[in-house]
């Protein structure tokens, strides 16, 4: 690969995104993204619907591979390795970069099996009971389910299901967790629990989160990327673009860009 240039791999960063664009067939969902994602921090992606933030987050663990016609241009390196190199196995990538989805999606199995499934897949079959307990404890769910580990996970409440999904993700010991609007299907109480949980988890993991909720981004993230859609000159196509990437504290007080300020203050979007 000739991309050896002088891309300074910062020790602190876990992902380096350069000139990234993602398209589905002829439709370009998002383009020209350049950003470094810092390790052990929470990075939030915000922006109006259709700005490509969910598309972007799926490129970090190659979940876009599963969508027919999706094509990624540019590079994302993960700790220096190009994720889209031909030799990279997406299965191995996903074992290190976990993902929590918009709607809680526990498997229709018992609570315990939801966690042991990932452990078995990743050959982590030693001390399974301990690993289950540890993951559920880390996900702040242990006390609520410790007596019902053999209960079907679908019987849990939405918020509990989402924490179970977080538990099964962290059980396989990834180093990064991608969260695609993890609270959008939850009530405010459950949302608060997930946000508190993120503050705990970030000590151990790097977290990327897509959110629609501006307060959530300002409350819980360290860095924030603001995306918006640009309509093409003929008015037919809308493509997502990165407007500003900044420390959250800066972005929500003195953003660099006019557009960011308008969005944050609720004047558009």
């Amino acid at each position: 690969m000739e991309t050896k240039e002088t891309v300074q791999v910062n020790n602190e960063s876990v992902f380096n995104v350069s000139d990234l664009s993602v398209s589905y067939g002829d439709f370009v969902a998002i383009k020209n993204v350049n950003m470094d994602i810092t390790k052990n921090k929470i990075t939030a992606f915000i922006g109006p619907s259709g700005c490509g933030k969910s598309t972007l987050i799926r490129t970090f663990n190659r979940m876009n591979d599963l969508i027919l016609g999706a094509k990624v241009n540019g590079t994302i390196t993960y700790q220096g390795v190009d994720l889209y190199d031909k030799m990279v196995d997406p299965v191995q990538v996903r074992r290190r970069i976990g993902m929590v989805f918009q709607k809680p999606n526990p498997f229709p199995k018992t609570i315990k099996e939801n966690i042991t499934f990932g452990l078995k897949v990743n050959n982590m079959t030693d001390n399974m009971d301990d690993r289950v307990e540890k993951a559920l404890t880390q996900a702040a769910l242990w006390d609520e389910v410790k007596d019902d580990l053999d209960k079907n996970a679908l019987e849990l409440s939405g918020g509990q299901q989402q924490r179970l999904c977080i538990a099964r993700t962290i059980a396989v010991e990834p180093d990064t967790i991608l969260m695609d609007e993890p609270c959008s299907a939850l009530d405010p109480v459950a949302t608060k629990k997930i946000e508190d949980l993120m503050q705990e988890l970030v000590k151990e993991f790097s977290i990327l989160i897509v959110t629609h909720n501006m307060q959530q981004a300002s409350r819980s993230s360290d860095y924030c990327a603001f995306f918006t859609t640009k309509t093409s000159d003929d008015g037919k196509r809308r493509t997502g673009e990165l407007v500003e990437f900044n420390e959250t504290s800066v972005m929500f007080t003195t953003p660099d860009k006019e557009l960011t300020e308008q969005y944050i203050s609720g004047r558009f979007g």
Binding site: L68, V91, P106, F107, F117, V121
Partner: protein, 309 residues
């Protein structure tokens, strides 16, 4: 008050809409026709079957214990067990063929196939489902038996249970495949993504997550396939032969419920005789078997739907 009366007179029924009523009557009658037809079929079967059992030569005990089915012989025997065992035997052979092939093609279609291959395979399966069973019957008799079975298993008769079972199995592959495929497709995509995001391969995802999640639908497809195998008539009549004694050798001819009905009804058995009435006893026996299976499949499928609501 004036206004209210005015409005009331405007809203009062003045027009009778005859077409509304006629159309409603017509569509209601159509809906009830199916019920009426079912009831009359059951009624016919039952009355004739009762006639059959009222013949002193026939006993309930004999019906279920005799090991020969020879209603047209001098000393007739009515051992339905011969027919039931042949029917189940051939149905089981058919299931051994159709369950794995149907299920694997469903898993392939829903989990592995690209949209393009799916576009080819789906219609081909539907063509297979549209082949008339008489064609399958002659395919079994004239192709499967001489080219496959007699080549590998010498001593097999021209009419044999094996080729009939294989052909019935091929016939029900589309049933199993398409219902299983529907069941797999009904599993939310989010489960598939959840599994893959944990680093599971496609194989593990399809076998450990998608397959169990769709299991009840898949079992329903199996029951329905089995039920179709039991009720299949043409193939077994053409290729399965008519061996009227209890026997469990797949190389020899057998005699299923359906083919014995065909044979008696095509022959010159006079109306009202016991041999003739036996048809209806067989009919009701077959009806009860497939009815139970269909209800079973319906129950499993219903239970399955509940899981994701």
């Amino acid at each position: 008050m004036e206004n209210v009366n005015n409005l009331r007179s405007q809203l009062t029924k003045t027009i009778t809409r005859p077409i509304e009523k006629i159309v409603k009557l017509f569509i209601t009658a159509s809906a009830f026709a199916a019920i009426l037809i079912s009831i009359s079929i059951i009624f016919t079967l039952l009355t004739e079957a009762i006639n059959f059992f009222q013949d002193p030569a026939v006993t309930f005990k004999g019906y279920f214990t005799a090991t020969r089915w020879t209603p047209t012989f001098q000393n007739p025997e009515y051992g339905v067990i011969v027919l039931i065992s042949s029917t189940l035997y051939i149905a089981v052979i058919a299931c051994l063929i159709s369950f794995p092939l149907g299920l694997f093609s469903a898993i392939y279609l829903s989990e592995f196939a690209t949209r393009r291959t799916r576009k080819v395979i789906k219609p081909v399966l539907e063509v297979l489902a549209g082949v008339p069973t008489v064609v399958f019957g002659y395919f079994a008799l004239n192709w499967i038996t001489p080219n496959i079975i007699q080549r590998f298993i010498p001593g097999t008769g021209v009419f044999n249970a094996l080729s009939a079972g294989i052909a019935v199995g091929i016939m029900i592959i589309p049933t199993v495949a398409s219902i299983s495929d529907d069941a797999l497709n009904a599993v939310p995509n989010s489960l598939r993504n959840g599994s893959l995001a944990l680093g599971a391969t496609r194989r593990i995802t399809s076998l450990k997550i998608m397959f169990p999640a769709a299991l009840s639908g898949i079992i329903a497809s199996f029951i329905l396939g089995f039920s179709r195998a039991i009720g299949e008539t043409m193939i077994v009549t053409i290729a399965g032969g008519q061996y009227p004694e209890l026997n469990l050798d797949p190389r020899s001819a057998m005699y299923t419920i359906t083919s014995s009905i065909v044979n008696v009804s095509l022959g010159d058995t006079p109306h009202g005789t016991t041999a003739y009435n036996a048809l209806f006893a067989l009919g009701i026996t077959l009806f009860i078997m497939t009815f139970i299976l269909n209800i079973g499949s319906d129950y499993v499928a219903r239970k399955y739907r509940k899981e994701y609501e």
